[in-house]
């Protein structure tokens, strides 16, 4: 039984990472109605940036902070320069192709700029287990970071004017313009926030293993997509729950389903498939009713 629980906590450790990336996906989906396939690779770039700062001697916490700010600006610029001109064509498929292109471009660019050798990211959290419990301190740390992210996002979206404007743009862009909201600025804000969230997730996940390279976020993105699909692409709460469930499912599969040893990647794919079949809007997603 203790093996079971330690696997569950392992899963939670991965799950919080999936949850934060899923949260970034949901944030962009809510404001723009887009799935950003480049979310993971944007986070990879941010992660390398964090690592570069620590290699220059900056403490990890400060490095993540700087990386978040830079990623926020970069995310907003990407929306303005790469996404918006394509969106003007009013064909969602065009934007999807652009985010796929960004996926490849950012991955290659990261290798070009930062090299292909595995790098070691210092951990934000102390090593070892928590007291007599069989839980890694880093797992608790990741959980705390996720909770802080959720609370800050909730406060921003529910308690501030700018958050209300963000939600208005995702609810009805035309009416938003009619009440005087600059919808373009809100879209830039959404992309910036998502990029900053990605920077945190990438920098933390990179410290978990023994060195990271340009493939760091590819598996994470797939699991995060599964988490977001499970929770519902328009629900931040769903993203968090979905990400955690996927992480736990992954860890338990590794431990108990020997037939899937080495091919656990099948878990998120099956989850996406099942969710799409049974509940296309996800567990917490709203059903979109077209009004005529």
């Amino acid at each position: 039984m203790s093996l079971f629980f330690s696997q569950v906590f392992n899963g939670v450790g991965n799950g919080v990472v999936y949850a934060s990336v899923a949260l970034a996906l949901v944030l962009i989906f809510r404001t723009t109605g887009l799935l950003n396939f480049a979310q993971g690779e944007m986070a990879l770039f941010s992660t390398y940036f964090t690592w570069k700062l620590t290699a220059q001697g900056l403490p990890i916490a400060a490095a993540i902070g700087v990386s978040m700010v830079v990623s926020f600006v970069a995310g907003a610029l990407i929306e303005r320069v790469l996404i918006r001109p394509v969106e003007a064509a009013r064909n969602p498929l065009n934007v999807v192709i652009v985010t796929l292109g960004m996926f490849l471009a950012f991955n290659s660019l990261a290798q070009l700029v930062f090299g292909t050798n595995p790098q070691q990211m210092p951990s934000l959290f102390p090593a070892g287990k928590l007291g007599s419990l069989n839980i890694q301190k880093s797992t608790v740390g990741l959980g705390v970071v996720l909770v802080i992210e959720c609370v800050l996002l909730w406060l921003l979206l529910q308690k501030t004017r700018i958050g209300l404007a963000l939600r208005a743009v995702s609810s009805n862009p035309e009416s938003s313009r009619l009440v005087g909201i600059n919808t373009g600025n809100m879209l830039m804000l959404g992309w910036g926030l998502a990029a900053a969230l990605g920077a945190v997730a990438g920098s933390l996940v990179a410290a978990k293993g023994t060195g990271f390279d340009a493939s760091l976020m590819q598996q994470v993105l797939l699991y995060s997509f599964a988490g977001a699909a499970l929770g519902g692409f328009d629900s931040p709460l769903g993203a968090v729950v979905g990400g955690l469930v996927v992480g736990i499912a992954e860890a338990l599969t590794v431990q108990y389903v020997h037939a899937l040893q080495g091919i656990t990647i099948i878990v998120p794919l099956v989850l996406i498939l099942v969710v799409l079949l049974v509940r296309p809007n996800g567990l917490f997603g709203r059903k979109i009713v077209e009004r005529v």
């Binding site: 004017r161 209300l164 404007a165 939600r167 208005a168 609810s171 009805n172 035309e174 009416s175 938003s176 313009r177 009619l178 009440v179 005087g180 909201i181 600059n182 919808t183 709203r286 009004r291």
Partner: protein, 242 residues
């Protein structure tokens, strides 16, 4: 009528406005004025360009010609800039933020202006008590009439200089429509709020209107005081049904 320049008593002045959607032109040189404190009504058949006229004023379509708001040329401004200049537009189909709460919708109406919203909220909750009862409810869960009240209250939260209303009676029961127009007339009398109303229900609209325009294929074909239009034989036959 002024031919050149802006007259001080005009809230809205359209001169030779042309516009449409992509290659298809809907407005063919529209001239129209609304004086300050006045309710102007646009009548016309389906496809005459009534909604397009309101969309042109808010820069939701590309236009040529001159559009002046209180003497200032606003043609070519962005939609959000027109809104911030004091034009509140209640679009056809209401344009409510259906997944946000009633109160959030009202707060969004005033999002472009600073200051405490409390007094304004209390005020419009007083005029539309149904909204106060449902303030924490999702806007989309309300009936069509309640949503129309919400859309109008949201527009009023902006403290606009000019209120544009596109088919406010669409989909409403006759009694609800009558109540709505009574409220609108009352707001115009008490606040002196200038309104430009597009409405199928011509007799009701002309009751609260001071001035009327009849639009046909993107041009004004008849204009006059509301009384004149209501007495005009052609208008009666085409839009009042008797």
């Amino acid at each position: 009528m002024t031919e050149h320049g802006a007259a001080p008593d005009l809230m809205l002045e359209l001169q030779g406005v042309q516009g449409g959607y992509g290659p298809s032109r809907v407005l063919h040189g529209l001239d129209l004025t609304v004086a300050k404190g006045e309710v102007a009504v646009i009548l016309g058949a389906n496809g005459a360009g009534k909604t397009t006229t309101l969309r042109a004023i808010c820069s939701m379509i590309r236009t040529e010609g001159t559009i002046r708001l209180d003497g200032e040329d606003i043609s070519g401004w962005r939609t959000q800039a027109v809104a911030r200049a004091g034009v509140a537009h209640v679009p056809q189909g209401r344009g409510t933020f259906i997944d946000l709460t009633v109160e959030e919708n009202l707060r969004l109406g005033a999002i472009s202006r600073k200051g405490d919203l409390g007094p304004d909220l209390d005020r419009w909750y007083g005029v539309f008590p149904r909204l106060a009862e449902r303030k924490d409810q999702a806007a989309g869960s309300m009936s069509g009439g309640e949503q129309q009240m919400l859309a109008i209250a949201r527009a009023l939260m902006a403290r606009p200089r000019l209120l544009l209303l596109d088919e406010p009676s669409l989909g409403l029961a006759p009694l609800v429509t009558r109540e709505l127009f009574e409220r609108l007339g009352q707001i115009n009398r008490e606040e002196g709020l200038t309104m430009l109303v597009v409405e199928q229900n011509a007799s009701l609209a002309l009751q609260i209107g001071h001035r009327g325009y009849v639009l046909e294929t993107g041009r004004i074909v008849t204009s006059g005081s509301a009384e004149q239009l209501a007495a005009d034989a052609d208008v009666r036959k085409a839009y009042l049904g008797f």
